[in-house]
């Protein structure tokens, strides 16, 4: 069974069709890029999958469970994590705390556990700290573990976001423009981290505008335009696809 199934997803905003009958399947361990002009519905699709936006029509099935009516926190706990285009971190908490918030707790985050601290809960916390520090070293933020989120540079925040995706233990990771606006060195680091996540068995769907990066990283590309899925396939097919060229380089036909 496919890992993630989107079935005839549609969403209107004030009469505008932002998602138009989108159907899509992802297999486990795929590394897929989503491209499309601005306003083509890419972020809306992410919002729908992660539960922040309820589609008007259609179904989303993740690991065999219908998730389109679940609140975001339930969807996250089923194993979907996402980043936001405008980075969302906890600015007044330390980098390590940010990591621990992404980490998975079974017991420790309950109020009861805060009041009655058992050995088991201490153990869970210690293990999460250990893992978080490992991930921080991996992305090169170990030295920053005690800094507040707000004191990180833009590139460091992007890296922290990825480290949090590692820590989250999610199976499906949605990344909204993971490398936009960062220096080339940081970009290289981020790409390396995405590849590592994929090698570790994560399924990754990412939105990206940098075509060179997309071609290098993705083994499959999905193209959205005007809320419609206009192409889906191997990168080599996509660059020669007539519809895609139209959407990006004019001679624009209406697909609505």
């Amino acid at each position: 069974m496919p890992f993630l199934i989107l079935e005839n997803l549609s969403k209107h905003f004030d009469g505008n069709l932002v998602l138009d009958n989108v159907s899509l399947q992802l297999k486990e361990r795929e590394l897929v890029a989503m491209i499309g002009p601005n306003g083509s519905g890419k972020t809306t699709l992410f919002n729908a999958i992660s539960g922040f936006l309820k589609p008007d029509q259609g179904k989303i099935i993740f690991k065999g469970i219908e998730i389109n009516n679940l609140p975001p926190n339930k969807i996250a706990r089923l194993g979907i994590t996402r980043s936001f285009q405008r980075i969302r971190l906890f600015h007044q908490l330390s980098v390590l705390d940010n990591m621990l918030l992404a980490a998975r707790y079974n017991e420790g985050e309950k109020l009861f556990s805060a009041l009655f601290r058992t050995r088991l809960i201490h153990k869970e916390e210690e293990e999460n700290i250990k893992k978080s520090l490992e991930y921080l070293s991996f992305v090169g933020l170990f030295d920053k573990k005690d800094s507040l989120g707000e004191n990180l540079s833009f590139g460091q925040r992007k890296l922290l976001e990825l480290a949090m995706a590692f820590a989250s233990d999610a199976d499906l990771i949605l990344l909204d423009e993971p490398t936009s606006g960062v220096f080339p060195e940081t970009k290289a680091k981020i790409i390396q981290n995405i590849q590592k996540l994929n090698e570790d068995g994560k399924t990754i769907l990412f939105i990206e505008h940098d075509m060179e990066l997309v071609m290098r990283l993705a083994k499959r590309i999905i193209v959205l335009d005007h809320g419609k899925l206009i192409a889906d396939g191997h990168p080599d097919e996509i660059v020669n696809n007539e519809h895609v060229l139209d959407a990006y380089f004019g001679k624009r036909k209406s697909y609505a």
């Binding site: 926190n73 996250a76 996402r82 936001f84 906890f90 007044q92 918030l101 805060a114 009041l115 916390e125």
Partner: protein, 289 residues
């Protein structure tokens, strides 16, 4: 000496109240503007139980706090989805409802005439002994409140609470049930406010609606912001400054008729200066705005 002990007791009661608001305002980041309502529910519940049903203040204290906690939970359920100013307005409205409730339900609360003769925890014949007893009692409750606040905040659960203050949406995206956490914190905050209310009633032995009006809610908000949101020390310092400061005006020899409005002006002035110069409060770490 009696006067100093009295000030110590009153400060202690407001420290508990400010610490309880700090959970909601400082750690959860929700601008609750009706906290005096929970203070009132605690005070009136245990006073009425003691006066009408002869229930011991020791038991009434916990019944009152539980009533406050239940109303906190209900308010939480009704307002968890409201953001910032809207949440502030809703809780402000709740404060008004409770105030006009106790003001107008004259059959139960005697309205503006207030409730006199509320029994104390232990009836002392000697004023000094009574004050010493209350000092110890209040100190004990202050310590319990500090202990439990620390216990809740310095834990993975407390981390989730603070993540909601920083970015609720991001917390939700990381799988935190923000709604449930918010309701829990409202409930705990209201519980301690209820404790403070009941302690106040059984110490002063007379309550009327004027102790629980909107200005009282604002005063507690001021204590937390002035001292520093999201710390334990902040609300303690804030409560001490705002309780003891007006008393000092008295010693300078300013007549009461002038002192009251002057006090309000100085509070307002302090708050403006603080928000501009030091938004995290005197000893605080966190900014709400």
């Amino acid at each position: 000496m009696e006067y100093e002990l009295h000030l110590f007791i009153i400060t202690g009661i407001f420290v508990i109240l400010a610490l309880s608001l700090n959970l909601v305002l400082g750690y959860l980041g929700q601008p609750a503007l009706g906290h005096a309502a929970f203070f009132a529910i605690g005070a009136y519940t245990s006073s009425l139980l003691a006066l009408n049903a002869g229930i011991s203040p020791w038991i009434g204290l916990f019944i009152g706090a539980s009533f406050a906690a239940i109303s906190g939970m209900i308010i939480g359920h009704l307002t968890f989805h409201l953001k910032e100013d809207y949440f502030g307005l809703a809780t402000f409205g709740f404060g008004l409802i409770i105030y006009s409730g106790i003001n107008n339900l004259t059959d139960v609360t005697r309205g503006p005439m207030g409730l006199p003769g509320i029994p104390q925890f232990i009836a002392f014949t000697d004023l000094y002994n009574s004050l010493i007893f209350y000092c110890i009692l209040i100190l004990l409750f202050v310590l319990i409140t500090i202990f439990l606040t620390r216990r809740i905040i310095y834990s993975p659960f407390g981390r989730v609470v603070q993540s909601i203050r920083d970015d609720e949406l991001a917390a939700e995206a990381l799988g935190k049930d923000t709604r449930q956490v918010k309701i829990m914190i409202f409930t705990i905050g209201a519980f301690f406010a209820g404790i403070a209310g009941s302690l106040y009633a059984h110490y002063i032995t007379f309550i009327d609606p004027s102790s629980f009006n909107v200005m009282e809610s604002i005063l507690v908000v001021l204590m937390v912001i002035l001292g520093g949101m999201g710390t334990i020390g902040g609300p303690i310092i804030g409560a001490a400054v705002l309780i003891l400061f007006p008393e000092m005006l008295r010693f300078i020899g300013i007549p009461d008729a002038v002192a009251a409005p002057l006090r309000q002006m100085i509070y307002g002035f302090l708050l403006v200066i603080l928000i501009i110069k030091r938004p995290q409060g005197l000893v605080g770490k966190y900014k709400l705005w």
